[in-house]
């Protein structure tokens, strides 16, 4: 991938700082926080299913002042290290920024995006438990949740160009990231990973976001799980990432994750149900 100009990087970075969270999680965080005795696990379950909230909280917690022995890679870990009250108040701060509008000028379907991200997150976590017991599986969940984060930033802050990319991918039946590179100058992998890097996310998380569309044969287990999960999600009809193509499974994922048939229809049904549950919370 060619080097990108400082202008492009500055533009991408500024955009993501302004990202508001998803409406349902904002509503839920506000509702839970009204009760002073709210349960930590309830807030965790909201934060870790909203890519914007999760990303912003990880950003704050991995700031240079807290060079913790292990980087904060999951919301549970953030509570163990920095305390529930701090995490809750960070979530409230993010909730106060506003909500992501349901419609954007790129016509990128945010609900379908969220379903896709949650689905990939759930599958990546399951795969992680099976192939890499030493890896924190919630790290794979977060990596899956955030792998396409760059697309939401594009939709919100560069909607015209992103719409052109979505349309081209659809009309020419090419992978969305290739259309993005042509039209926006870089793809969502770079967008997302640049932020992840700037925000000092742990290296495996940055790499999983950056390389998930590359035909790599080397990389971390986290990357392998996200690649494989992304591929599985596209053959199961659930959510939509904006890319019409099902690509070949990269060698890394094929070697590391083995036979994907091991993921049963029951597994997928359960993960879908969890993702759906989140889509429903707060909508009553």
């Amino acid at each position: 991938m060619s080097a990108h100009s400082e202008d492009l990087i500055g533009k991408f970075g500024a955009a993501a700082e302004k990202m508001p969270a998803f409406p349902k999680s904002v509503q839920k965080v506000l509702e839970l926080s009204r009760n002073i005795d709210c349960q930590a696990k309830d807030i965790v379950s909201v934060i870790e299913k909203d890519p914007v909230m999760a990303a912003k909280i990880l950003k704050v917690l991995n700031c240079p002042y807290y060079s913790l022995p292990s980087k904060i890679t999951s919301i549970d870990r953030s509570i163990v290290y920095l305390g529930f009250n701090t995490v809750k108040n960070l979530a409230l701060g993010i909730a106060a920024i506003g909500v992501l509008p349901r419609h954007n000028r790129a016509d990128f379907d945010i609900d379908q995006y969220l379903r896709h991200s949650l689905f990939v997150a759930g599958i990546a976590k399951l795969l992680c438990g099976r192939i890499s017991p030493k890896t924190d599986s919630t790290e794979c969940f977060i990596a899956g949740l955030l792998h396409d984060f760059g697309k939401v930033v594009f939709a919100q802050f560069m909607p015209e160009e992103f719409k052109l990319a979505l349309d081209r991918a659809k009309n020419e039946n090419i992978p969305l990231h290739l259309a993005e590179r042509e039209i926006l100058g870089a793809d969502h992998c770079l967008m997302g990973s640049m932020l992840a890097e700037k925000w000092q996310f742990p290296v495996p998380l940055v790499e999983a976001i950056r390389h998930h569309h590359e035909d790599a044969d080397q990389g971390s287990d986290v990357l392998a799980c996200v690649m494989a999960a992304n591929r599985i999600s596209k053959t199961a009809d659930f959510g939509f990432s904006g890319s019409p193509c099902v690509e070949e499974l990269p060698a890394l994922a094929a070697n590391r994750c083995g036979n994907l048939e091991d993921i049963t229809a029951e597994d997928l049904a359960r993960i879908k149900e969890e993702a759906e549950m989140f889509s429903r919370i707060g909508s009553s």
Binding site: P64, Y65, Y66, D76, G83, N85, T86, L90
Partner: protein, 294 residues
């Protein structure tokens, strides 16, 4: 090294006949290094009396380390008299506040506002320097002393401090509640959370292992804790466990609950002694004016 307690109370100052023995001032501990440097742990109301004791030795350099920014640990700071006298130096150390996004300077800034205090920061005569710390990274005081912040658990970021001087050491927790599992055993996240907790606990113990003296937040009895879980404070039992696991020789219980009378405190202490015989670990109730030299 010398240790002296100037405030041992939690939450709010409680002067009066019921607290006359152990004292009603909020947290402030004076440490003198072997070469005489002044380290002050927390700036609760106890710091006012400490300041009075310093008037004869000015100009002073006060190395103040704040465990966290809750009022009871900072609200004596504006009354730290050396601040108003030219030639003195205040070196204020503390944590970065993740939620407000500000460093330790916030503590003075918030308190020294026109509506709340008559003197603005710009009007203070002493020189003030701020040091926002990173957990695990030691600060050197003089030639022979280091102060190492250790991230503990409270509703706001709280540092415990380990002070090492010529092979002697003391650890002060600030306010600390050992983190607990937020899932119940039958829930999916339980096991993973348990592992993170274990790793976290091991990290704390590694940082304080072999310390001579521990001064620990022991706000509650076990019965009281049941109703105050999540408030960010330890119990007599959690302090004993911490001190034993760290291999300490002396344990001071501090941050006494503000409604606790001297009599109540001694009653609870007697129960603790019965329930957990000291066996090589000496227990002491922190008391204003008391201290030790070692």
């Amino acid at each position: 090294m010398k240790i002296k307690f100037w405030g041992v109370r939690g939450s709010i100052p409680v002067p009066g006949p019921k607290t006359v023995k152990y004292g009603g001032n909020t947290t402030c501990i004076e440490i003198r290094t072997d070469s005489g440097e002044l380290v002050i742990l927390d700036g609760g109301t106890g710091i006012f009396q400490l300041a009075q004791s310093l008037l004869g030795e000015m100009p002073v350099t006060a190395n103040v380390f704040l465990s966290h920014s809750h009022w009871d640990h900072i609200h004596g700071l504006p009354f730290f008299v050396p601040l108003f006298v030219p030639g003195n130096r205040l070196r204020l150390h503390g944590a970065y506040d993740l939620v407000s996004g500000r460093g330790v300077e916030q503590v003075m800034d918030v308190q020294l506002q026109y509506s709340f205090f008559p003197i603005r920061e710009a009007e203070l005569k002493a020189s003030i320097e701020y040091f926002t710390l990173t957990p695990g990274v030691p600060v050197e005081i003089g030639d022979a002393t280091t102060v190492t912040p250790i991230l503990l658990n409270h509703p706001v970021v709280n540092f415990g401090y380990r002070i090492d001087c010529n092979g002697k050491s003391v650890f002060f927790t600030g306010d600390h509640e050992p983190p607990y599992n937020i899932y119940s055993p039958e829930e999916a996240g339980y096991e993973e959370y348990r592992q993170i907790l274990q790793e976290r606990e091991a990290g704390i113990l590694d940082a304080i292992r072999g310390v001579d003296v521990i001064i620990a937040d022991s706000s509650y009895s076990d019965e009281e804790y049941a109703k105050k879980k999540g408030w960010g404070h330890g119990t007599f039992d959690t302090s004993i466990r911490l001190a034993r696991d760290a291999g300490a020789k002396i344990l001071y219980f501090t941050h006494h609950e503000p409604t606790r009378s001297d009599g109540d405190l001694e009653r609870i202490f007697a129960e603790v002694l019965k329930k957990h015989p000291p066996e090589g670990l000496e227990y002491r109730l922190a008391r204003e004016g008391d201290g030790m030299d070692f």
